[in-house]
């Protein structure tokens, strides 16, 4: 039996209900992927071109002109190994922040746990990610960089990137329902975040004393973990990873509670 009554204040996050609706989650991801690849003529190429162009720009300006160190690796490989998870994160963040508003019709017509929407949006980026990961492996082969034995930990870093995007995405998607200017702050946020993350430069440039503070940005753990798993450089000290994971978990937990608190007015406000 179900009780429908006004709730007040903070309400528990019902992950069990999300599990019940897992098929819907899968279908929404599938739908978005289909539409994404049906509507764009460039389709697959688009997913690869974007990080490639950024890599070229970074290599020219930061690598050649700026002489930014790259942990002894060819700069293009160094940059691209971070751009792949970064693109996943940035895309997932943008999609999930906009997800609730974009699904306006669903929100006002059908009931399901609303958090499914940012979750599905995050999942869509994984397809692009797999494609650009393939390009990265090709690039490594070209520069004769041998993957490290820790390559099997790659899914862990990928998961950390995705959950970080979700953690911020639940906050922004809920805020976006009430405050539509969130959309305009997002590019700015992403840009600042990019420079606070060791994408164009190695994290070893950051003074030792600041490292654990720096790792509060969960993407630091993601990128360092990624480079460590693939290239065997920029070792991911357990401390950095632990701090990043904890920061992500805190952000995600609070975000889920905030989302729950506001989701019940979505249909009235949107």
């Amino acid at each position: 039996m179900q009780v429908i009554a006004p709730a007040s204040g903070w309400v528990p996050v019902q992950l069990g209900e999300v599990w019940q609706f897992r098929e819907l989650l899968a279908f929404l991801v599938w739908r978005e992927v289909k539409i994404r690849y049906k509507q764009t003529t460039l389709g697959v190429a688009w997913a690869i071109l974007q990080p490639c162009f950024t890599m070229v720009v970074f290599s020219v300006f930061f690598g050649r002109i700026g002489h930014i160190p790259s942990d002894g690796l060819p700069y293009p490989v160094f940059a691209f190994s971070a751009l792949v998870p970064w693109q996943l994160f940035a895309f997932a963040l943008a999609e999930s922040s906009n997800s609730v508003v974009a699904n306006q019709r669903l929100v006002t017509k059908v009931y399901f746990p609303r958090v499914i929407m940012p979750m599905a949006a995050v999942g869509v980026g994984l397809v692009d990610f797999c494609l650009s990961l393939g390009v990265l492996l090709g690039l490594m082969a070209f520069y004769r960089v041998v993957p490290s034995t820790a390559i099997w930990t790659l899914p862990v870093w990928t998961l950390l990137a995705v959950t970080t995007a979700l953690a911020v995405g639940v906050w922004l998607s809920a805020l976006n329902v009430r405050y539509r200017d969130i959309r305009y702050t997002l590019p700015f946020l992403t840009q600042v975040w990019l420079f606070a993350t060791p994408v164009a430069y190695p994290s070893s440039l950051v003074p030792e004393a600041w490292r654990s503070m720096y790792a509060l940005n969960p993407m630091v753990g993601v990128i360092d973990g990624f480079r460590w798993a693939l290239l065997g450089r920029a070792q991911a000290p357990p401390m950095t990873v632990a701090v990043s994971a904890a920061a992500m978990l805190a952000l995600l937990t609070l975000g889920l509670f905030y989302f729950r608190r506001t989701e019940r007015t979505f249909a009235d406000v949107i």
């Binding site: 739908r31 669903l106 399901f112 539509r180 007015t265 406000v269």
Partner: protein, 421 residues
């Protein structure tokens, strides 16, 4: 009101409050930040100037509604636009939360608040069926099992692998409804969806709804079509300005609703003139549109009208005038009488039509007559004849007239068309 053993829904004091104007308005974050920053200033100003803060105005879309629905019942909800019907369904389907009260619901709730929610034009019919089914809460295996049935019901078998952007609107509608109709919830909430599609499809939908209730599932149905409510429902809820005015058997509830909603648009102090209308053979349903029939209009006049001009129009669901008549003036004495309007035939498509009556004195609306009363008749005229025109909605037009084609075997060679003047 606790949920008793035989009930599936028990609601007590359900209410939903909205802010006046738009619904709850969304805004820009910079405004919110601006307000937060200036709040101490405003508070200080209130203290020093004694201004009261402007209270936002609210209205109750649903106001302390209590009821109980037993298992397997088919319940209709009627009421004018904005009376809270949709709000009630949205609360029961958990799309929005009530402001007050509580409801207890037993079983899986499926809602048909709008068909085709989540349909995407780029996806094929097959893909949309699966996505839409999942959105409506159907497990994937159930959709796969019923897929052929759904496609057959919608009559789109040939196009299942075509993107729905190439479908006609009628086809999209049929497919969307077919998915929804194959849901198997314990409680089905339906909002006005049966108003779509051609008459043949509507008939199939009604049949489907009857099946659902025969299987012991509960249906809550919002509709403006009283005929439909009468046919399907065993009890009817009448909502008026958010409040539950009456909840009882269809005949009584509909009668009270219709009596209360007779629409008098304008009048000239004659008191009420039009009381009601019916077809001469009783009822408001026209089964055979090719045959003559008589509309009887019950009138009562407080004063005599020496030079009475009566005008009638028949309006379709889109408020387009299908046909209108103006009659030669007659003299009407004061008192009650039934006017008879004989119509030789009304060959229109099946559907719901509204009748509008106007009575002028001393001339008509163009010649300076004085309006006695203009009245939109309730209930509507239900035309329930079998459709004989084009089977596709978009080609059938508004008239329902049969035609036959023949191709004689012998044809004079050379002459294809002869035009005579």
């Amino acid at each position: 009101m606790p949920l008793s053993a035989s009930s599936v829904i028990a609601a007590e004091g359900l209410g939903k409050r909205y802010r006046i104007g738009r619904r709850e308005a969304y805004g820009a974050m910079r405004d919110a930040i601006g307000r937060a920053l200036s709040a101490p200033l405003r508070a200080a100003r209130r203290l020093t100037h004694g201004e009261s803060s402007a209270e936002p105005e609210y209205f109750w879309a649903l106001d302390r509604v209590s009821f109980e629905i037993r298992e397997g019942a088919v319940v209709g909800i009627i009421g004018r636009n904005g009376s809270g019907k949709s709000t009630l369904l949205k609360i029961l389907s958990r799309i929005t939360e009530p402001t007050t009260g509580r409801a207890e619901v037993r079983g899986r709730v499926g809602s048909l608040l709008e068909v085709g929610t989540g349909f995407h034009p780029e996806l094929t019919g097959r893909e949309n069926v699966f996505v839409n089914g999942a959105i409506l809460g159907m497990p994937r295996r159930e959709i796969a099992r019923k897929f052929d049935e759904i496609v057959a019901f919608a009559d789109v078998a040939r196009f299942v692998d075509t993107p729905v952007k190439h479908y006609s609107s009628g086809m999209q509608m049929r497919l969307a409804f077919a998915v929804a109709a194959h849901l198997e919830p314990t409680i089905l909430l339906v909002d006005e969806v049966l108003a779509v599609g051609d008459a043949e499809f509507q008939r199939r939908c009604l049949g489907k709804m009857e099946d659902v209730s025969r299987e012991g599932r509960t249906v809550v149905l919002v509709s403006h079509q009283m005929g439909q409510i009468r046919r399907l429902c065993e009890s009817v809820m009448w909502l008026d300005k958010g409040q539950l005015r009456h909840f009882g058997d269809p005949a009584t509830t509909i009668r009270e609703y219709e009596a209360a909603t007779l629409r008098r648009e304008e009048g000239l102090g004659f008191g009420q003139c039009f009381n009601g209308w019916a077809l001469a053979d009783g009822g408001h349903t026209l089964d055979d549109t090719g045959q003559p029939f008589t509309i009887e209009i019950d009138t009562s006049l407080a004063r005599p009208v020496a030079n009475a001009h009566l005008g009638i129009s028949v309006l379709d669901a889109d408020d387009e005038v299908v046909v209108g008549w103006a009659f030669e003036p007659i003299a009407l004495a004061a008192g009650r009488r039934v006017l008879h309007v004989s119509v030789p035939q009304l060959p229109v498509r099946p559907g719901t039509y509204r009748l509008s009556f106007a009575l002028f004195d001393q001339g008509n609306n163009l010649t300076g007559g004085k309006l006695v009363e203009k009245w939109t008749a309730v209930p509507a005229l239900l035309v329930d004849a079998p459709p004989v025109a084009h089977p596709q909605d978009e080609w059938a037009g508004i008239l329902n007239i049969p035609a036959t084609l023949s191709a004689p075997a012998e044809q004079r060679p050379g002459v294809v068309f002869a035009v005579t003047r």
